[in-house]
């Protein structure tokens, strides 16, 4: 009994003495991030890998190249125009412009200590194509379509042959999909039915990135630990990163405000608006425009009443833009309405259109279209984007009622939303789209091309639009390119298969003691650059 007591007392004293110092040390080198959702796969090539799993690829794996950086709104922003070395030390584009040769870093290692070779790179590129679905599509977007294009010349030399001159080929090798896998390790865990080790890589990593995945509890948290032998860039300052899933937005906010968590980048815009005005000064909100992205109201152009362009224009005049801006976005977006009517002045995208809230004009247009007393319709939005879409929908519904249009709101749960988009039968809907590769023609191809990609939810088909998009895709003359881009933007603004409302911004809130945040196109945080004071 007394022995037991002694031991207990001893343990308690030891705890009391050692714990605070240890805990403080751990806290300083550990970043605690709270988000709504975490990765559903450690392998970005896996079927159904979600957005947070892009972040895993970004940290636990390296690419041959990465992007440079610039500053936007006082926040570090990746620079799309500049490619920088990561696993590749250098590269050279052939004189005829039809291939590129990479020289790999000689000191680069995977997490298990084995060296990174060109064979690993070749295997990884082949895998991205072979896994089908999203990774394959992403590779093809840069005209990287066949395994024969990829060649391991020697241990440290890797060559990619181009099928055609495509300005997207090089940047497409710096996005998360062509991550470099440890081929030897992966092959050990492959089976005859599963030659690309898809099952094993879903739950394990075989990379050489700056962070190792120390533990992963799907749906709960992922813990990263620094890879001290990382050579592809400056060694990260953080030793550990814990990314926890906290589904309630209010709780996430409380955690940040009370200093229990260091960082969060998924919160309702209202919280960001309030946190950025916080007088206590312990918090920092970084806000950057999400490029090539839109919040919009889409309409089905193939079925009445929205097959009539006058009806669509009437809606564009009925949208309560200002109210949406203050009550749905809380100012955390960039306005895209109320510009000068007529053709756009520059090829900048997202572009401002000339519509404004003008109920009288809307009523007149609706009467012209033959609906003086309005009609009934269903207004849909994705439940997963409810924090912004729901208030938008309610405000739009209210405004439409003034035109006599009776809109029933239809919240669509996540799984159903994709199915609905594929079916293309929602009459009017609120949605958001963003393109990874920052080219307007890329956005327009996905949303308005007549080959009917998923995101052309309006079912819009116009040969003139197709021609402009296709021309701009491979245009080499900058002047002509500008004219083509302006051309399809103007076409969107007059035909109005969708009404752009605002360009989203990416908000991140962190404690004052956190620095080094940088925006990336994949909207995942890059812990390699972050440090705590």
């Amino acid at each position: 009994m007394s022995m037991w007591k002694h031991a207990l007392f001893g343990a308690a004293v030891a705890l009391a003495v050692s714990l605070p110092a240890q805990a403080q040390d751990a806290r300083k080198e550990t970043l605690l991030v709270v988000n709504e959702t975490g990765p559903n796969s450690l392998d970005i090539h896996a079927v159904g890998a979600n957005r947070p799993s892009y972040g895993v690829a970004w940290l636990a794996y390296d690419r041959l190249m990465s992007f440079g950086r610039k500053t936007v709104n006082g926040v570090a922003y990746y620079d799309y125009t500049k490619l920088t070395p990561e696993l590749a030390e250098s590269w050279e584009i052939a004189k005829d412009g039809m291939s590129v040769t990479f020289k790999l870093r000689r000191d680069a290692k995977f997490h298990d200590g084995s060296p990174v070779t060109a064979a690993d790179v070749k295997w990884s590129y082949d895998r991205a194509l072979a896994m089908g679905g999203f990774p394959q599509f992403q590779m093809m977007a840069g005209s990287l379509e066949k395994p024969e294009q990829f060649e391991a010349v020697d241990t440290h030399t890797f060559r990619v042959k181009f099928l055609k001159k495509d300005k997207l080929s090089m940047p497409d090798m710096a996005v998360p999909v062509p991550s470099i896998y440890n081929a030897t390790l992966a092959k050990k865990n492959a089976t005859a039915q599963d030659p690309w080790a898809a099952a094993w890589l879903k739950n394990n990593t075989a990379g050489g990135g700056a962070f190792k995945v120390a533990s992963w509890k799907p749906g709960q948290e992922i813990v990263y630990e620094r890879f001290d032998d990382w050579k592809s860039g400056p060694l990260p300052k953080l030793k550990r990163v814990i990314q926890r899933e906290v589904p309630s937005a209010g709780t996430r906010r409380a955690l940040i405000e009370r200093g229990d968590a260091d960082m969060s980048f998924e919160m309702p815009p209202k919280d960001f608006a309030l946190l950025s005005q916080e007088k206590t000064g312990n918090l920092l909100v970084k806000s950057t425009p999400v490029e090539n992205a839109l919040w919009y109201i889409g309409m089905n152009v193939n079925n009445p009443p929205f097959n009539n362009v006058k009806v669509r224009q009437a809606i564009a005049y009925a949208v309560p833009y200002e109210k949406m801006f203050t009550r749905a976005f809380y100012g955390r977006a960039i306005k895209l309405w109320g510009g000068k009517p007529g053709p756009v002045a520059t090829a900048a995208w997202p572009a401002t259109h000339g519509y404004n809230t003008d109920i009288a004009k809307a009523k007149a247009l609706l009467a012209e279209a033959g609906y003086p007393n309005g009609f009934e319709t269903t207004l849909s939005f994705d439940l997963g984007q409810g924090t912004v879409s729901e208030p938008m929908a309610v405000l739009l519904q209210e405004s439409l009622a003034e035109l006599g249009i009776k809109a029933t709101i239809n919240k669509v749960p996540g799984a159903n939303w994709r199915a609905q988009m594929l079916k293309k039968d929602m009459p009017i809907f609120i949605n958001r789209f963003g393109g990874w590769l920052n080219y307007p023609e890329y956005f327009f191809f996905w949303n308005f091309h007549s080959s009917d990609p998923v995101f052309n939810t309006s079912g819009y088909k116009n040969p003139k639009m197709d021609a402009l998009i296709e021309k701009a895709r491979y245009e080499t003359d900058p002047k002509k390119y500008d004219a083509e881009v302006k051309g399809f933007i103007d076409l969107l603004h007059t035909d109005l298969p969708r009404i752009p409302v605002a360009q989203p911004v990416m908000d991140v809130v962190m404690g004052k003691h956190v620095s080094g945040y940088q925006y990336w196109f994949h909207i995942q945080p890059d812990y390699r650059l972050i440090e705590k004071q």
């Binding site: 405000e257 309702p268 209202k270 919280d271 009550r327 929908a393 309610v394 209210e398 709101i409 749960p413």
Partner: protein, 279 residues
């Protein structure tokens, strides 16, 4: 169950009296709500968004600038409507099946008991979620889902009560008088099991409201911008932390009061019907 007994129970149990008064008030609100509410529940110009309670907006306004007081009042009809219809459906179906099963026994009894057991083996709230998710987000489907998960309770109570009475003297007498089985069930058994069923109804009403609110909370209930207590609490939940407590608190408090009232009434009814069984 004469007036004297009623008065006696109320005197013995003032809480029940309070519940009956409260219930009366809720019914009045449900009927005359639209006349009382100072604003249109959907009007987003009732005040500035998120203003705290004031003389103009007694319960403050929500994030759209809608008047919460008006919305809470208007919602009474919908919430009571959902709860009442759901409970009625399960009452009618559950008690007829239960009665028949208890009275005749046999295969009907076996099958219906199995069905009830199977429903009971489900995690009930998740079953309701599944039904609404599968059939779609409408008021009607919330009602059906709630009715289905309550069904076994009625079936069991009705079955037990009918079973006890099927060989009772007055039933024998009715049978000897040449009454048909169905007539005996409808005229003699059913009215007799009504009192215990009413207790179940009252308790269930509260549960039905909670259930609908829970469904709304996870986004599977009534559609926006309809005023409904659960959805209003869910909407307000995000504002609690930022200090706009009134958005969730008032609908939450009224929701609680309504459920509270039904639960107390259920107790009170039990006292009226069978004082010995009071718990």
């Amino acid at each position: 169950m004469d007036m004297k007994h009623f008065k006696y129970v109320l005197k013995e149990n003032p809480v029940t009296g309070f519940a009956f008064v409260l219930f009366g008030l809720f019914v009045l609100l449900a009927i005359f709500g639209p006349l009382i509410a100072p604003f249109d529940p959907l009007d987003s110009n009732a005040g500035e968004p998120l203003t705290p309670p004031s003389a103009q907006n007694w319960f403050g306004t929500d994030s759209f600038g809608r008047d919460i007081f008006s919305r809470v009042i208007i919602a009474t009809r919908l919430d009571f409507g959902i709860a009442l219809s759901a409970v009625l459906i399960s009452f009618i179906i559950g008690s007829s099946i239960g009665c028949a099963a208890g009275f005749w026994g046999g295969w009907l009894d076996r099958v219906s008991s199995r069905v009830a057991d199977t429903i009971m083996a489900f995690p009930l709230f998740v079953l309701a979620m599944g039904i609404v998710a599968a059939l779609g987000n409408t008021v009607g489907n919330v009602i059906y889902a709630t009715a289905i998960i309550n069904l076994p309770f009625y079936m069991r109570v009705a079955r037990a009560e009918a079973n006890v009475r099927r060989n009772a003297g007055f039933i024998e007498a009715a049978r000897l008088a040449g009454n048909h089985d169905v007539r005996i069930l409808a005229v003699h058994i059913f009215p007799n099991i009504l009192p215990p069923m009413m207790v179940q109804v009252s308790l269930n009403m509260g549960w039905a409201i909670l259930n609908a609110a829970g469904l709304s909370f996870i986004g599977l209930g009534v559609r926006p911008p309809e005023a409904e207590w659960g959805i209003m609490v869910a909407e307000g939940a995000t504002y609690i932390i930022s200090g706009e407590w009134w958005v969730a608190l008032f609908p939450g408090a009224v929701l609680m009061l309504a459920v509270f009232c039904f639960n107390l009434m259920g107790d009170g009814l039990r006292d009226l019907i069978d004082p010995r069984r009071r718990t």
